[in-house]
Symmetry: C2
């Protein structure tokens, strides 16, 4: 048994090395690669992705899994070994059904599609991107078909990002919040004048933004000996091991919150990855369990901390010192309200907490329609704009601030967006637990001390990596299932206060 | 036959993708990777290196090579196919004798050793680096043993960088120039006062250095749509395809020539890689044939162009405009002499053309002694310093400017240094041919027009990639073998003029 598990770990380590190497290449493509490199990079990513898949779905690994399962009972349920077997078996059964050629083809196609997306977004030229999106969608549909039968074709794609979650659950979750959100957006818009954010628009030196953002990130606990920040057209976090966790940022010299909250958001992801138990290294479990749980961490640090009063009690004087021209005459309370101003807007990553989930719901609904064939790629921009009008009362002036704004579809990440809302919901549930466990939390935060919070998150979430399913993890921490009510209660309380509703 | 060659190309393409992916990871390690990333990066490089090897030395590739060889006569000797068969067969027979585990172990060990080298050099702490150097040396010895029998244990290592070259030839080549070089160094040192370079020491803004260097590089023909420059502790050139060729530079704000000539040097390498025939992509032949030929290109652009009068006739006014404080009062002739000042110095990459080869000879001799066991790792710094005293009349004050100055040994590149001198020799031989073919060359250069030269190099050298062995290539271009005499004649003429000998 010991020999078998060592053998399995050795085989998995090589697969993980290939996946992480591909992550380095993908990160480099987003940050530094010259345009000419795209075509060779696509081939390299196809080869790495194909090999990682081929080396994972072998009979040898299948045999080891079957053999080890016999005696899995000897390990405790929570042991690294038992968790590894459950985790790998689930993934193996899924991946084994997808042909390696399809995996490689998707890697190749999306590497090119991402380059085209960057150009198309710059030029606000949807027709330039359309044929690539068509290819990506077709490949993702083929992947889903390999995993049939399913209740909904979105299920197997969602499962890749949020294991065990079903489309029906997401629909129900959205149904439970959508009307309330639309109502809250309406109520706030009647009181729109109560909060102004002009002070956040102006002239904000990028280098100063960078330094301040990284200072906060380090205060949170982001270890730059084991990470770094770079610029990229789309902010993201990636990791090549728990000792090498990168974030990227997009700076806007005319709007302060963009890079600042983007940095805090990605730092939340990075803290999760840096906190994974080193014993899990190269097992495949050495990463966050799902994008929903991941997003709970980024949103917790971005919003529940980064847009809270205690946080700015500590940091606002420092920020004022960095940008005296813009902020010296602003008081803390006005700043707090400004960064929490809620209003319908076009760009998801810059949306406030109230409207954010509506951006996600729009994408989720569009993806379902694209996958089922209800919506054709040709009609996508129109459908996008129509939904923005219906849910948020606004329409993009061009596709760059509309259907082309997100990188996800170019990456093949169809089935991904729902996890952003799952993350929002979980962030509040998990934070409420942290609050209960840490009675001095607000005082700590107001003193710029995040050790207790990070320690709690590490112990209860980060440390486990992918040992437990999202459901198991939420159950362990909260004692129950994912629940939208705490999130809605949080929103109502926070915004009633800010807008005096 | 057509089917067989396509099959072979497909298999090779995957191997090349893995090697180039490893090159991305290695580049990233030198440029951006945080310190914490080293250990996982080493595993990733070991996995990529091991896999590339394992997938290359298969029976399948061996079988295809044997099968295709039967009918190779149908292709012309110069055809891509015939060249590929010769090139791959030679490499296959070599690699097949080396165990994959040894390849992976060397990749892992050198990835770590490079990190330690950076730290050790910073701290001028040879004992910190010593155990890693011992491991690297031992692994390289083991590799050489796999390739026995040999005339000299250095042979199989040299062959990796300079196919078909023998240690005895290098010895003979060095013997033919060493005494003359030492004599020339002596003659020049008697006239040391004839050339002064104080103007090159001072305050040179790094950003301006970068911009000027890249402008020259682009004038040479370096295409930044298919390349880029980054900073690294050791200047180098690497490529991930002929459409993605990177250079790195090390800037010294107090000494102008360091980054400037470093940039021109690496640009010379980059032009070679960018000029390879796109038809050779992913074949393994889509790169320069040897490090000696590669170095002939970098030295040609760095020295034969970049330290020549016609070049500065065009560029000196521009450089004066960039650094008016330091250069406005200098005349072209004084500047030309300053950048060609020859004097014994400690750092190889900054050595002048006369002393440069002595730096190489020192390393070559030390490597031979280390490999044969005549010299122990413990005695290396002493032996290094003793040789610098003997050949150049100077001694380093610490190991950072002595035995720790080069990255090569930490990378496992034992057997590499000789190719620097091979490159110097070839650069003059090849440039003389270009001169003959291009009667207006000096006038073109003085007009800032490098198209004719680059075109000639592309047609005669770059385009071929690795289709011909170094010997074949030199024969095709010069009609003869490598020859040290043109190089020595060039040095004597140039320095007699500058120092009025």
């Amino acid at each position: 048994m010991e020999k078998g598990i060592q053998k399995l770990k050795g085989l998995l380590a090589e697969v993980v090395d290939l996946q992480r190497s591909a992550a380095v290449l993908a990160w480099e493509q987003q940050t530094y690669m010259p345009p000419g490199g795209a075509s060779a990079r696509a081939e390299q990513l196809a080869t790495l992705g194909g090999l990682a898949h081929r080396m994972f779905v072998t009979d040898e690994i299948g045999g080891l899994l079957a053999e080890l399962e016999q005696s899995a009972g000897d390990w405790g349920y929570d042991s690294d070994e038992a968790c590894l077997l459950r985790f790998i078996k689930r993934r193996y059964e899924r991946e084994r059904r997808i042909p390696t050629d399809l995996v490689a083809e998707l890697a190749r196609t999306t590497a090119i599609a991402q380059e085209v997306w960057v150009q198309a977004r710059k030029a606000a030229d949807y027709p330039m991107f359309k044929p690539y999106l068509r290819d990506v969608l077709s490949l993702r549909r083929q992947q889903a078909e390999c995993l049939a039968p399913y209740d909904h074709i979105y299920d197997p794609l969602l499962d890749e990002y949020e294991p065990e979650m079903k489309t029906a659950e997401v629909r129900a979750m959205f149904a439970s919040i959508k009307d309330d959100l639309v109502e809250l957006v309406g109520t706030i818009s009647e009181r729109a004048d109560a909060v102004r954010d002009e002070a956040l628009h102006g002239d904000f030196d990028i280098e100063r933004q960078r330094v301040f953002g990284l200072e906060v990130a380090q205060k949170f606990g982001y270890d730059l000996e084991r990470g770094r920040q770079d610029e990229a057209p789309h902010p993201f976090c990636t990791h090549f091991s728990s000792d090498d966790v990168r974030i990227t940022t997009r700076f806007d010299p005319t709007f302060l919150p963009s890079a600042l909250f983007g940095t805090l958001h990605e730092t939340g992801h990075a803290l999760y990855e840096q906190g994974v138990d080193p014993r899990l290294a190269r097992s495949g479990m050495d990463t966050g369990i799902s994008l929903g749980v991941h997003e709970s961490q980024s949103r917790l640090w971005e919003n529940l901390i980064g847009r809270s009063r205690p946080f700015w009690r500590y940091f606002f004087p420092q920020l004022q010192a960095v940008f005296p021209d813009a902020l010296a005459n602003l008081d803390l309370e006005s700043f707090y309200r400004a960064i929490n101003r809620s209003a319908p807007s076009l760009i998801r990553v810059e949306a406030d907490e109230v409207t954010y989930n509506l951006h996600v719901i729009i994408r989720f609904e569009l993806e379902l329609d694209l996958l089922t064939g209800m919506l054709d790629i040709d009609e996508l921009p129109g459908a996008w704009n129509e939904k923005y009008q219906r849910y948020l009362g606004i329409s993009p002036e061009n596709d760059a601030e509309g259907v082309l704004q997100d990188i996800h579809w170019s990456m093949g990440a169809i089935g991904y967006f729902a996890t952003y809302s799952i993350g929002n919901l979980l962030s509040v549930q998990l934070f409420n637990c942290a609050r209960e466990a840490l009675p001095n939390l607000d005082a700590d935060i107001a003193a710029g001390d995040f050790d207790s919070l990070l320690g709690w998150l590490r112990d209860n979430i980060h440390h486990h990596g992918s040992k437990f399913t999202p459901r198991e993890l939420v159950q362990r921490v909260t004692g129950g299932d994912m629940d939208a009510r705490p999130y809605m209660a949080y929103l109502r309380e926070k915004y009633s206060d800010i807008y005096d509703l």
